[in-house]
Symmetry: C2
Subunit: 375 residues, 2 copies
């Protein structure tokens, strides 16, 4: 774990006021639409962050991407957890262990084979493991398409052992929607598809208690969530350059940045070298196909102000090359060796995962909020 007494760069800075504003903004929108959030903690992976999502009681319904997250949050008192990655039989003993510890962990699946495996395991192990059926609304990832007869077939297999909990979908396609109307349409398509599937299930006599949708863009741009029982989103807590490029947030809303130190210059090339390479920034280049390619990140002064047109253009493991964006008419700032800068990340989930925790200003000192990485 990071030794704050000997803090050296690169490290991951978290600004709690920006995070608070991001959390409050989406919560207010959900309150208006009357649907509860089930935050996806795969972005933050930190109890200190996730406690702040549930101001009243400190715990609440969450979504996880790994069983390690589930174990960690269960240890911190969370009892209502959805594991939103398709379940495989080898993971069921870990799932059962959580159930026996008092955690209601919902699993996700999209095939008859998985449903049969989960039911057989639950019967043999005398444990109830509720399962959600994954629905695909935009061809981006896993899930069954609306209208597929397998949805009802799988629900029946689960329901025979009282393990059918509902449906879940993720509008990953919304990440390709820079304009407002397209994001609103993606949100409505996600909602409408979920409602159609849930109605078909109910028509078939199958209870569909949970109708779960979500992605950070659709959560922010949904105008109506009638028929939806919960919304999942993760990256909104921190925001990032991809979300800014999608106009889900402003650059100034981004709550995490990598603090780096200038370690050299190549005046012949117009380069400033820093000690934040891909190991710190991650290899994520999520803005590469957006209108504005932000390289490996936007370079800011330590007060958070971006230097005009200054980005990390390339990286090696522990080196970052900082230069002006191609075609820029700005002047390269004079940043002497030893100068500290802050780099806004393309993708908060990816960059945060390169660190074992967050350095957080708290009144007049820095504190450390650890993360749970791995599986």
């Amino acid at each position: 774990m990071m030794n704050l007494a000997e803090l050296t760069t690169p490290y991951l800075l978290l600004e709690p006021e920006k995070m608070r504003a991001n959390i409050d903004r989406l919560q207010a929108h959900m309150d208006t639409l009357g649907v509860p959030l089930r935050p996806h903690v795969k972005t933050a992976k930190s109890i200190d962050v996730v406690r702040r999502l549930f101001p009243a009681q400190g715990t609440g319904p969450i979504t996880v991407s790994t069983l390690k997250e589930a174990d960690y949050f269960a240890e911190h008192g969370f009892t209502d957890i959805t594991y939103a990655v398709g379940i495989s039989p080898d993971k069921l003993p870990r799932v059962a262990r959580l159930h026996r510890g008092g955690v209601c962990l919902r699993v996700l699946l999209d095939s008859v084979a998985q449903a049969e495996a989960v039911v057989a395991f639950a019967k043999r192990d005398h444990v109830s493991i509720p399962a959600l059926i994954e629905i695909d609304c935009d061809g981006e990832r896993a899930g069954l398409r609306e209208g597929d007869a397998k949805i009802v077939e799988i629900a029946r297999i689960l329901q025979e052992n009282k393990q059918f909990s509902g449906i879940l979908m993720h509008a990953g396609g919304s990440y390709h929607c820079p304009d407002k109307a397209a994001k609103e349409a993606a949100a409505e398509h996600e909602r409408a598809t979920a409602v159609k599937v849930s109605e078909a299930l109910r028509d078939a006599g199958l209870p569909c208690e949970t109708v779960s949708v979500g992605s950070t863009p659709t959560a922010h741009f949904a105008k109506d969530l009638t028929g939806i029982t919960e919304v999942r989103a993760g990256v909104y807590v921190f925001q990032d350059l991809v979300m800014a490029g999608l106009h889900v947030c402003q650059l100034d809303d981004i709550a995490i940045s990598v603090v780096a130190t200038v370690i050299g210059h190549r005046p012949d090339k117009g380069w400033i070298m820093t000690d934040a390479g891909w190991m710190a920034l991650s290899r994520d280049r999520g803005t590469a196909n957006q209108e504005v390619d932000q390289g490996y990140g936007v370079v800011c002064a330590m007060d958070g102000t971006p230097y005009p047109d200054l980005i990390v253009s390339s990286t090696s493991q522990e080196h970052g090359v900082v230069e002006l964006r191609k075609g820029s008419k700005s002047k390269l700032p004079q940043l002497e060796v030893g100068t500290k800068v802050r780099i806004l990340p393309n993708h908060a989930c990816a960059t945060a995962s390169q660190f074992d925790g967050y350095v957080v200003p708290d009144q007049n000192e820095l504190v450390f909020w650890p993360r749970v990485n791995g599986w």
Copy 2:
């Protein structure tokens, strides 16, 4: 740390026999050329791996990319360490602490400002910190060009306080050299440049004890290392798809792979879904600009045999989409939910860094070799 009793995918498998062969192959080549290796431990970051680089005594001269690696290997008895990333003044207290603990940690720099800062700190702190001057031989990263008058100027500043240790360069350009003659030429260019710089320093009356070169491609393809005192290389210990694409190794030499489980299918799209997304594989797409783009990795059976034309074509955080390479005439293998596969990585340094250690077959059991990530 990984719980082997409850081992679930994704995890990082290390095959010790393949690693042994990779280590022996480069060591034999270096023995023939009569130059010692200073292995770069940034790839493995594991005492269990690095001990196997020095069969006689268990420790030896190493290169590190972070001060955390330096601290970790110092705790394990290593006393001759080169920190091969340009030094910034804020890191000098950590460097000095290592020196006071009996470790000779060489730092790297390429500017007068850094040299003055290192000398001033050493004088004030009553500690000797030897420094190497970084030389750039191919315009890829940091360093001064051969012939730059600053090289002698910096060496003099260091030598006044007996801190000048020599020069260091890294032929990063060799990563763009698929054909043998180009790699041999890159190796000879790296050698010749280093020798010229060291001779110019000696002509100026400055001792140049260390003449350090290295990159995995040039280390393997060097035919002569006259005038060189040490070679650095890191990725050779594991090898990876980038190195295979550069014909530095064969696919079968790659010693690490990510073990993943099939979690679903999209027959409409020709996709097999696994639980190894970019969080496990890393976002590194090092083969994207090579002759054969291997996507996010080559998919193999658990015995290590690659499935014909089967690659990870896209990823999200915890999902990997496996499909046939575009234009393939092979048939998608039937891999049921729960089937385990192994995925060869683009870049061993990047993929290994996503894990907290290696799962290693050792006689009839699995053991865990931890890694030291972070800074």
